[in-house]
């Protein structure tokens, strides 16, 4: 069972209390953006086998959104952080690098 600590209320919540919200840090492109950018925002997903950043909602708790860093191949949780973060906090990045020295932050992948 997946357990995440809600950074808003501090409760260690199991997954029956949480609603998954998909990939985090996706940029919503505004007016004048290309079809490709809007497609990327709506549909194109990272879907890595490994470190992944996601949105979650503490649906049956405080009701607030938050973000989580997790490994999809082991279900290990690296930490949770506020939904207002525009980038992954350094503390979480260093925790991931300590556990997975080979991990490369996947900025290089371009949307199809």
């Amino acid at each position: 069972m997946l357990i995440l600590t809600c950074p808003c209320c501090g409760i260690k919540a199991d997954e029956t209390e949480l609603a998954p919200g998909g990939e985090a840090h996706i940029k919503r492109h505004g007016p004048g953006s290309s079809d490709a950018e809007f497609e990327a925002y709506l549909f194109t997903r990272a879907n890595p086998r490994g470190v992944h950043f996601e949105r979650w909602r503490h649906a049956y708790g405080c009701g607030k959104w938050f973000l989580a860093a997790r490994a999809t191949d082991t279900l290990e949780v690296f930490g949770t952080y506020p939904a207002t973060s525009t980038a992954v906090p350094d503390a979480i990045l260093s925790r991931i690098r300590a556990r997975r020295p080979d991990w490369i932050k996947p900025d290089r992948i371009k949307p199809a």
Partner: protein, 414 residues
């Protein structure tokens, strides 16, 4: 390759089963192939089979990181049906279903296709309206289905509780020639037929990188060495995102765990497949007598082939409402597979941003039924560059907004 027949069983019985041959060869990978297919699940193997049979292309390798059929093809609940609403889905799934009718003869392997009929229960007014509409659409598409009243549901399936308090059965969409088949035999049958036509099936060979040259695919790196190829087909279901990343692009796909479970074997009591989409559960009885039950999918990305326990609980809880006699059954096994869910829940058969590289994925929770038809269309796409059956399932539909308005791979296994 020696043919399987009633006579061969008789002959082998007389000589202590000493004359059976290997069903497929285990060759060393060659340095170069015309076409390399990644993934020896049903879809990859069927693609290879129809490449050789329909298009005469046999310089083909199918690379598999584990063992053949060990992915979702060997983990599903084997429901086969083609009662879809939209024309492109009905076309490819009905092609597939009709190929299943003669697949045992075509492959010379008993895949145990059992057209016992699939019944999709309508348990809300919305479902009644939706299924009536589907039945009308199917009539126009030439797919034989009908909407049946509750009395007929009870006749076909006496163990059902028609007048349940929460979700009474208001009717059902009935497809008499839908059913089940033996999943392993489908993979084995295609593999054996491929091997006999000279296709190399290479197990324990994981693709670790994809090589390209000026925007054109050149080959793959594997745990058994580099292999170059003219064309590359990625047919890896839940691992599609991972392989696409190697090829340098992203897909509109997320990989999640989907579970199924079987009960202890009991006497025959259910000779059709019943699906109850409102309560997210469906069931059939295997030849061994086990009740085969499909569960719900997790909502978050996962590659571990393990699902969450609470989904099993939810599935069983809702099935018991419709089938009260199940309440005393013990469950024998539970397992999970990683399914590839696309943005519109319909599959992708398409060229990709990398030249010469094609994908066949996104079958999600419902691609066992599609194996023959998908292989047929994918082979045509690889051989000719286009295929009428695959036309609507291109990747560009996500950019152009031409979605297929149909949850063919809904949140449950089927």
């Amino acid at each position: 390759m020696k043919r399987y027949s009633a006579f061969s069983i008789f002959r082998e019985a007389l000589r202590n089963n000493s004359g059976w041959q290997r069903a497929w060869a285990a060759p060393e990978p060659k340095a170069q192939y015309d076409i390399v297919i990644v993934g020896a699940g049903g879809h990859g193997l069927a693609t290879a089979y129809y490449l050789a049979r329909n298009h005469g292309i046999a310089n083909v390798a199918v690379l598999e990181k584990g063992w053949l059929g060990g992915g979702n093809t060997g983990r599903n609940t084997t429901v086969i049906r083609s009662n879809y609403l939209q024309d492109p889905s009905a076309a490819i799934y009905e092609k597939s279903r009709s190929l299943y009718e003669t697949l045992s003869q075509d492959l010379n392997m008993n895949i145990m296709f059992s057209p016992r009929g699939v019944m999709m229960l309508a348990q809300t007014e919305h479902e009644v309206r939706g299924y009536k509409r589907t039945a009308q659409a199917n009539a126009l598409q030439g797919v034989a289905t009908e909407f049946i009243p509750p009395a007929r549901v009870r006749e076909l399936c006496p163990i059902i509780r028609i007048d349940g308090p929460r979700y009474p059965v208001l009717g059902a969409l009935w497809q008499p020639r839908a059913g089940t088949a033996r999943h392993d035999a489908v993979a084995w049958g295609y593999a054996r037929a491929c091997s006999a036509m000279g296709i190399d099936i290479i197990e324990r060979c994981e693709v670790t990188a994809i090589r390209s040259n000026a925007g054109q695919v050149a080959g793959v790196e594997t745990t058994r060495g580099a292999i170059s190829c003219g064309k590359l087909a990625l047919v890896v279901a839940g691992h599609s995102g991972h392989l696409a990343e190697m090829a340098g692009f992203r897909l509109p796909i997320e990989s999640v765990a989907l579970q199924a479970l079987v009960s202890e074997p009991i006497k025959p009591c259910l000779d059709v497949v019943v699906m109850a989409n409102t309560v997210h559960g469906y069931m059939s009885q295997s030849d061994k007598g086990e009740m085969v039950i499909g569960g719900g999918a997790d909502g978050y990305n996962n590659y571990t082939q393990r699902g969450s326990f609470h989904h099993v609980e939810e599935t069983v809880r809702s099935l018991i409402e419709t089938f009260p006699m199940l309440s005393r059954l013990k469950m024998l096994r539970q397992w999970g597979g990683i399914v590839d869910m696309t943005g519109d829940r319909s599959p992708i058969l398409s060229k990709t941003p990398l030249g010469g590289c094609y994908v066949n994925c996104g079958w999600g929770t419902g691609g066992f039924k599609a194996i023959p038809g998908s292989g047929w269309a994918m082979a045509e796409l690889l051989a000719k560059g286009h295929s009428p059956l695959a036309e609507a399932f291109g990747l560009d539909r996500f950019r152009e907004g031409r979605f297929i308005d149909e949850s063919v791979a809904a949140g449950v296994a089927h």
